[in-house]
């Protein structure tokens, strides 16, 4: 596509290149349980895609598929990068290693040279507000701080695609908000593509450029909705709260349709 072909409206927000695509991806487990009906979903590069839906709708299966931890039993997954990080609901740290060692862990396993690893780790530590805690052990930190270590570890392996499975669900609301801001900050600085699972509609609306709503039995895609006022690369940009409120109601309505 040449520049001449780009319509005027899209020029304001260029059509994003997909970083990963689910094409009729489907999952039936060995015991015959149908976890996911065929799903088409695009993860646009440098955008945050949020998955919402009731328990058992196959969100995690979809995320694990994107991570290459489980293969689709039908259809396929096309991924344009191998640089991925996975963030779990629990911080999932090595209890016997310091914060510094935990942050460097994945990069070290990936054989990133020591100097580069150190440099990236110290940047991630600064960015997540962990400076001064490098020598602490995980159990000496609060839940929110541990989650920060988990985030710092994820970015230290320099991913293009960040896969997050309800990463802030176990935190209190205040900390959760702060962690959301951290994530947006990291997204701005590094232009990450994020796939983010949550049960919280406010969180979904705040973080998502697009929201994929899923339903159960079997897990299927109800729809993908683009945000009317997505997070902006400019941290000072105002967001259209009224439009976001409408957006949240719309998502709730779609989920409500599942329950009925």
């Amino acid at each position: 596509m040449t520049h001449a072909d780009i319509p005027v409206r899209a020029a304001a927000r260029p059509a994003p290149r997909p970083l990963a695509e689910f094409i009729k991806a489907e999952k039936v487990f060995g015991n015959g349980f149908r976890a996911l009906a065929p799903i088409d979903l695009v993860l646009p590069a440098a955008e945050i895609t949020v998955l919402v839906g009731p328990s058992g709708c196959g969100k995690t299966t979809l995320l694990r598929m994107a991570a290459g931890l489980t293969a689709p039993t039908g259809g396929r997954l096309v991924r344009h990068t191998d640089r991925m990080s996975y963030v779990f609901q629990d911080p999932t740290l090595l209890a016997w290693r310091t914060v510094q060692a935990n942050v460097e862990l994945v990069a070290k396993l990936q054989k990133v040279p020591r100097e580069l690893r150190r440099e990236r780790a110290s940047r991630a530590i600064d960015m997540t507000g962990l400076a001064g805690f490098e020598k602490s052990y995980p159990r000496e930190l609060s839940g929110g701080m541990r989650m920060r270590v988990s985030l710092a570890r994820a970015v230290t392996s320099d991913p293009e695609l960040l896969l997050m499975d309800e990463p802030f669900a176990a935190l209190d609301e205040f900390t959760r908000d702060k962690m959301g801001s951290e994530l947006l900050h990291m997204w701005r600085v590094r232009g990450l593509t994020v796939m983010f699972i949550t049960h919280s509609i406010p969180e979904a609306v705040r973080l998502g450029h697009q929201i994929a709503v899923l339903g159960t039995r079997p897990g299927h895609l109800i729809g993908v909705v683009r945000s009317p006022s997505p997070p902006s690369p400019d941290p000072d940009a105002e967001r259209d709260e009224a439009a976001l409120h409408e957006f949240a109601l719309h998502i709730t309505g779609q989920l409500g349709g599942v329950r009925a």
Partner: protein, 282 residues
């Protein structure tokens, strides 16, 4: 909530907890010390009131005399037993962890070996010890190996279960980062299994002493080189009950020494990361 008076009387005030170190220590030391003194006094009273003959049950005073007279002679057998059980413990610890690592790494080995480990564990140690004497002759080597044999299973079983119960997400993290199974085993699963390994070693500490003493019962080497097991059989045969009591007491000291070693190792290794090593208050 009813009358104001009730509400007032229900007020609980929680003051900042101040625990002077000396008071805390007293709380730990005093109760068992009091129990000991009471027990010894009761024991003395019983032997005096019913005039229990010394060969059945020596009184505390007799015991005190025995300790004074016989303790020097007990040094050598105690050290012999300590050395045997310590070596048996170390061998069992190393072999047990190694067995578990191999079994955790290759399922084939687990399927193939574990049943036999269980069988070794079910062999009555008293019955198997004479066989070791036949094979290896009477002596410290035999006693050490008998100790090692019964201490092996607790270490191997506990370590294996520790190695297999690593957090699934951590395993997933290592897999995604492309860490080969060997790295996962040594840098993730082994350290994660440390609390389980130490639990196994605690059990092994006691077991290796039992093994060594049973070995000594059977081996029957005199001249102090037979260890506490030999002293125990000899004193029993000669109805030297006070000496028998002393030997039993020293055997439990040997067990305690090994056990304490494990506890100290546990404190140092797990101090900063594991819940079990924390003071109850934190």
């Amino acid at each position: 909530m009813t009358a104001a008076g009730t509400a007032e009387s229900a007020v609980t005030e929680v003051r900042a907890a101040r625990r002077p170190r000396g008071k805390k220590l007293a709380g730990v030391v005093l109760p068992p010390a009091a129990a000991l003194v009471t027990g010894v006094v009761l024991w003395e009273l019983i032997t005096v009131i019913w005039s229990v003959p010394g060969y059945l049950m020596p009184s505390p005073l007799t015991m005190a005399r025995t300790v004074k007279d016989d303790l020097p002679a007990m040094w050598t057998p105690t050290l012999v037993t300590l050395r045997e059980s310590y070596l048996g413990f170390v061998i069992a610890g190393a072999a047990g962890v190694l067995c578990a690592l191999v079994m955790a790494r290759w399922r084939l080995f687990e399927r193939g070996l574990f049943p036999y480990l269980v069988i070794v564990q079910t062999l009555p140690i008293v019955a198997i010890a004479p066989l070791f004497v036949v094979w290896l002759g009477a002596g410290p080597l035999t006693n050490t190996l008998v100790g090692a044999m019964i201490a092996l299973f607790p270490v191997a079983a506990s370590t294996l279960s520790g190695l297999k119960s690593t957090d699934r997400n951590l395993v997933q993290l290592y897999t995604m980062a492309g860490a080969p199974p060997r790295v996962q085993l040594l840098s993730l699963r082994l350290p994660a299994a440390l609390p389980a390994i130490l639990t196994g070693l605690r059990v092994a500490a006691g077991a290796s002493v039992i093994g060594a003493i049973v070995g000594e019962f059977v081996a029957g080497v005199g001249g102090g080189q037979g260890g506490l097991g030999y002293v125990i059989t000899e004193s029993a045969v000669q109805l030297q009950t006070p000496q028998l009591f002393l030997a039993v007491l020293l055997a439990s000291v040997v067990s305690l020494v090994l056990f304490t070693m494990v506890v100290i190792a546990e404190r140092r290794l797990l101090r900063r990361w594991h819940e079990s090593a924390l003071p109850a208050d934190e």
